[in-house]
Symmetry: C2
Subunit: 234 residues, 2 copies
């Protein structure tokens, strides 16, 4: 039997990255998960990432410490207020204050280093070009450009022994498609966390862009969000 | 008088990045320096970076903490031995163990985030394609690919308000060219530090690739290295 190839999966513990982990596994990869403490106010997502990594039995889970607060510039890493109750029409226009400068570029760069050390050529990221809240570094043309750069950055790329592939399997999926795909793969969404501004117990605010996109995804898929059931229990 | 544009300068405190800082200033940029504690064994280079930033009166100097040791993979960040006394013919062949996976990609990604927060479009990096010890992420085609990716990653790139430019002014210079250029710009190389394996007092080992390339640069330029004079003093 051939040995399964390793893949690095960027895992925030949210709905998207958890679905991506399930997809990577369904495609025959042995997943090594990579999460970040980057000074995010919703640090509780690291707990979700650990729960998800454990539930999936990943081969390795690295939590890298990088302090993106040194630069400021985002409501996700500063004391600025997370926008709430924005209608969908506004979410799809412009780039919101929750955008963290160069975050996906930094995350993918670390994934590239981790993959190189593991001898892995495959990196999975849960970016999504449809319900993407207007972040520039979630678009397919950005992912393609990162992949081209990556293949000029690494030993294996230079020596021609392997080609790095950035997989963004959610790129062209709606949130409802993602929820359906993950559900079909057996993902337990009750252990994931999407909220930008959760309570201390992990209770989602239900009002930030991320909560609203998640709710819409489950609604459009005709499914109940098991995370909400966790908090509705008497 | 027009306001001078800001530029982010990646500053390790070594010969190359210090020369780049001098070049950025000579081109009319207000420099904001960015250095990293990344788990390097030659952590003393942070002291050099601080000395250099101070000597140049940079507008801001951010030292970001990122632990690249979580992945291992390089003799610069692990207990593995730094190669010593390698002849030039060997240095120019293959990729040595001092290569840190994806290091320049990670550094440039942080620079991109910092630049975005500053509203700067210019990033300077001291990579060098000739005397480059065989690192893949020092080649001009890699820098070009990073720049293309960067312009798809940022708000300004997407909104078309500014184009990010990665300046690698040392790309096609020999070490001797670099020493000459910096000397002409008044750089005091006695406060810089290049060694991969220095003593506790900062004394260079004179045997690692970096020390040997530096020595060759000064020799070929027909100049004395003032750093050595610091340690030769009675």
């Amino acid at each position: 039997m051939p040995i399964s190839p390793k893949a690095v999966v960027l895992l925030s513990g949210g709905l998207d990255s958890t679905t991506v982990l399930a997809i990577a596994r369904s495609r025959g990869f042995v997943a090594c998960a990579l999460s970040f403490r980057y000074g995010q106010r919703h640090i509780i997502e690291i707990d979700s990432a650990r729960r998800v990594a454990h539930a999936f039995g990943v081969q390795d889970h690295v939590v890298a410490e990088i302090d993106l607060r040194v630069f400021g510039g985002s409501s996700l890493t500063t004391e600025a207020e997370v926008p709430k109750d924005r209608p969908a029409s506004e979410m799809s226009r412009g780039i919101p204050s929750t955008y963290v400068p160069a975050r996906n570029t930094i995350f993918l760069s670390f994934a590239l280093g981790y993959a190189e050390v593991l001898g892995a050529s495959d990196i999975f990221i849960g970016v999504n070009a449809l319900d993407y809240s207007g972040y520039p570094d979630c678009r397919p043309e950005y992912i393609d450009a990162f992949e081209r750069m990556a293949n000029l950055a690494t030993k294996a790329g230079v020596e021609g022994t392997a080609r790095t592939k950035i997989h963004a399997p959610l790129s062209h999926m709606t949130k409802a498609d993602i929820v359906r795909a993950g559900t079909a793969l057996g993902v337990d969404y009750s252990i994931t966390s999407s909220c930008y501004d959760p309570g201390a117990d992990g209770r989602p605010c239900l009002r930030c862009d991320s909560c609203r996109l998640r709710a819409k995804g489950f609604r459009d898929a005709g499914l109940k969000d098991p995370l909400l059931e966790r908090f509705e229990a008497p």
